[in-house]
């Protein structure tokens, strides 16, 4: 059975183009032009054979500039029933709202205009992470010469063990659990340092710098620990 994508986008041209591209990739696409329509679809799209908690949609692409309001209501309504992946599509000016949605649990974001390749890559990562809140998908991460084994609490680079402080390791582990996806500053600070530290971005800069120095070939031009300016960090997708 093909995967079902709900595309909530009010611009008809973009909606049609994206639908065409996704159908070519083998996805089944439901489209909605507004939040209310999107909500209605998630309520009625349940597949006949599916279990009660199945929403009938595997992934949601949510545009932020919708006529009938903020995406937060839709995100909250979806998340109440099922940890369905949500990708936020935003315009450049909607920084604040985008980050709010990511902090509220949206999986990743794309800034308009974006290439289809980028969209497909983000969708693949998001689908791979389905259900990770219960069951981490990645306990091992490998890319280039770097290997992270969360279970064994071990980090190797080129086969040589790398010594990390406990905080460095926790930070890296948090990124590994969301490998390929953006993790906001707030989420990282809350998960690694604690809820009281969500404003202490300078901690994060310091420890990311240390991690890069220990793991990257050229810390000035990182390929693993990527910066998403103003949003957070993204650990590059692991090697297949």
């Amino acid at each position: 059975m093909s995967l079902r994508v709900l595309l909530v986008e009010d611009d008809r041209e973009l909606r049609d183009t994206l639908r065409g591209a996704l159908v070519v990739e083998g996805y089944e696409v439901l489209t909605a032009a507004s939040l209310s329509e999107g909500l209605a679809i998630t309520i009625h799209a349940r597949r006949a054979s599916a279990a009660a908690e199945d929403l009938g949609v595997d992934l949601v692409l949510l545009d932020l500039g919708l006529p009938d309001g903020d995406g937060e209501t839709l995100l909250a309504a979806l998340r109440r029933r099922h940890p369905i992946p949500v990708l936020v599509i935003s315009a450049r000016q909607a920084e604040g709202r985008k980050i709010r949605l990511l902090d509220a649990g949206a999986d990743d974001y794309l800034v308009k205009p974006f290439a289809i390749g980028e969209l497909l890559a983000r969708m693949r990562v998001a689908l791979r992470h389905r259900g990770t809140t219960v069951n981490p998908a990645h306990t091992q991460y490998r890319r280039d010469a770097v290997l992270v084994d969360l279970a064994a609490q071990r980090v190797l680079r080129g086969g040589v063990p790398v010594h990390l402080t406990p905080t460095e390791f926790n930070l890296l582990a948090r990124l590994v659990r969301s490998a390929g996806q953006v993790v906001t500053h707030r989420q990282l600070l809350a998960d690694v340092w604690g809820a009281d530290f969500v404003e202490h971005t300078h901690y994060l800069r310091l420890y990311m710098g240390q991690l890069r120095a220990k793991l990257e070939a050229d810390p000035a031009e990182p390929v693993l620990l990527l910066t998403e300016p103003g949003v957070g960090y993204r650990l590059a997708e692991p090697d297949e």
Binding site: R92, Q93, E95, G96, P113, A115, T165, P166, T167, N170, H185, V192, W193, G194, F197, H200, T201, H202, Y203, R205, L206, Y207, M208, G209, R212, P219, A220, E221, P222, L226, T227, P229, G230
Partner: protein
């Protein structure tokens, strides 16, 4: 001398009349002394003299009364038969009557003279006050101070309960207190009457023929063909009323004219600014639409070719056209970001989303953006001084600044020549520099490249650099202008410096802030 003191001169109290009383007493002493030595007619002349000397010092009514009493007493004391009021000779009756009439005439003349002198003094005082008022208005340009000064002048003129209300700008639709400056008590009925007076542009109150039953006098602050405020003074009684009203009105009108001049200056300034803003906006729009046309034309060409000739194109040709569309769209996207950012930073009260950022990360992101699949030579290189402090800045904006500078350097320096992002500390700043080995920029243009519409299209004095630059900077306008706007929004500056061996160095100086204490390990991290 205060105006209030001037006003009191023609109603002189009896206490100041002592020289008149002395004159009368002296006159009577002389009369008794001369009794028997001169005849009655000459005695009568002494009495007339005493009256003439005394009358300037006495109030009119007192003068007339004393005069009548003196004639009666003279009759009793000196006119035979003495000790009675009877007159036996007709000549004596004539003498007494003549004395009475002459004394009355003298008194009347004296008091008329006195009234005129007082009037002249008052008018001189008014003229002096008007002149001083004109000076005050000329010397203060602040409307609030002017209104306060009028209030002061009116209080001096009419007493404590004066008040002034003046429009700050256009006449509001309702009696909105936020649209006016007020001094003194303008509440309740007084406020309503002031607003009415302001809207009518005519004086109201006692003596004006309008709303005669009001307690106070309301005067408009009149300009030319408009009314800019209103003032209230307590009603004045008696002869002074008309005079005082005219004078107070003159003071009010002077302020009205001054306010009107200020309003006209304000309007002129505003419309000049508006015209200027309009001009800038138009130029910006023209520049932007010009810049957009080239990528749009390319996209149109490629897309329409795919649309109309698809079946005759080879797979490779189709792929190349599609790639062109993607590239040009990305360019349009960057241009749109720049334009929007410029508009945002130009708006008053722009707020940045600053946070502690690492220079390494910002530069790393710029490098990632600069790497293109076909950039095999890896032209862009970064060099960061070790142990740089964290920067307090808006990462997106500083990233955009670096992206633009790198784009600019890639576009205007020879292919394969290296481009360098260099970050180092300098005093209380961190300098982020982007350096190329291109043709450089002529000295005359080093400031102008940051202006939105300067793109090297105009003829330049530097003939050597001109051709290279003229062709070399299309579309740089908005990009560099937004870079400088970003630098300045951070309290820093962006400069273009020449390099000793050719090429440009764009240097962004970002002021440093003290970084909060470095963190220990996370709690519970062990």
């Amino acid at each position: 001398m205060s105006l209030a003191a001037l006003e009191s001169r023609d109603t002189r109290p009896l206490a100041q009349a002592w020289p008149g009383i002395v004159a009368w007493v002296a006159g009577w002493i002389a009369l008794f002394a001369a009794d028997g030595r001169i005849d009655l007619a000459n005695q009568a002349m002494l009495l007339v003299l005493a009256c003439a000397v005394a009358s300037p010092w006495l109030p009119e009514w007192a003068s007339l009364a004393t005069n009548a009493a003196a004639v009666l007493a003279f009759n009793w004391a000196f006119v035979p038969p003495r000790g009675t009021f009877t007159i036996d000779l007709r000549e004596h009756a004539l003498l007494l009557a003549a004395m009475l009439v002459v004394n009355a005439i003298v008194t009347a003349l004296m008091s008329a003279l006195r009234r005129q002198a007082a009037l002249a003094r008052r008018h001189a005082g008014y003229a002096e006050q008007l002149r001083a008022w004109g000076d005050t208005l000329r010397d203060t340009s602040d409307a609030r101070a002017q209104v306060g000064a009028l209030h002061e002048a009116l209080r001096e003129l009419g007493g404590g309960s004066a008040a002034v209300l003046a429009l700050e700008d256009a006449m509001p639709a309702d009696n909105d207190e936020r649209a006016v400056l007020t001094v003194g008590d303008v509440h309740g009925d007084r406020g309503a009457a002031l607003w009415h007076c302001l809207r009518q542009g005519q004086p109201i109150g006692p003596g004006t023929g309008r709303y005669e039953d009001l307690e106070d006098l309301y005067l408009p602050l009149r300009g030319r063909g408009a009314c800019l405020g209103a003032a209230v003074i307590p009603e004045a009684s008696g002869l002074r009323a008309t005079d005082l009203r005219a004078h107070a009105q003159a003071l009010c009108d002077a302020l009205g004219l001054a306010l009107q001049r200020a309003a006209a200056r304000r309007d002129e300034q505003r419309s000049r600014e508006q015209a200027q803003a309009q001009g800038v906006r138009n130029a910006l729009l023209a520049a932007i639409s010009h810049d957009y046309r080239t990528p749009l034309a390319t996209i149109m060409g490629a897309a329409s070719s795919l649309d109309e000739q698809a079946e005759r194109l080879s797979v490779e040709q189709r792929r190349r056209l599609a790639h062109t569309i993607v590239e040009e769209t990305a360019l349009l996207g960057r241009m749109t970001d720049n334009t929007l950012q410029l508009a945002r930073l130009d708006a008053p009260g722009v707020s940045l989303t600053c946070d502690w950022e690492s220079a390494e990360e910002i530069v790393g992101t710029a490098l990632r953006h600069a790497r293109r699949p076909d950039d095999t030579a890896r032209r862009v290189k970064a060099r960061l001084e070790p142990d740089l402090p964290l920067l307090w800045c808006d990462a997106l904006l500083v990233g955009q600044l670096l992206d633009n500078l790198v784009d600019n350097a890639l576009k205007y320096s020879p292919p394969q020549s290296p481009i360098e992002i260099d970050v180092r500390r300098k005093d209380a700043c961190v300098v982020l520099a982007v350096r190329d080995q291109g043709p450089g920029v002529a000295p005359a243009w080093r400031e102008r490249v940051f202006e939105v519409f300067q793109r090297g299209a105009e003829p330049m004095s530097d003939a050597v650099a001109a051709p290279a630059l003229a062709s070399a900077r299309p579309g740089a306008g908005v990009g560099l202008a937004v870079c400088r706007a970003i630098a300045r929004a951070h309290g820093g500056e962006l400069r273009l410096l020449p390099r000793p061996h050719g090429g440009c160095s764009f240097e962004f100086e970002l002021p440093l802030r003290p970084v909060p204490a470095a963190s220990a390990e996370a709690p519970g991290a062990s």
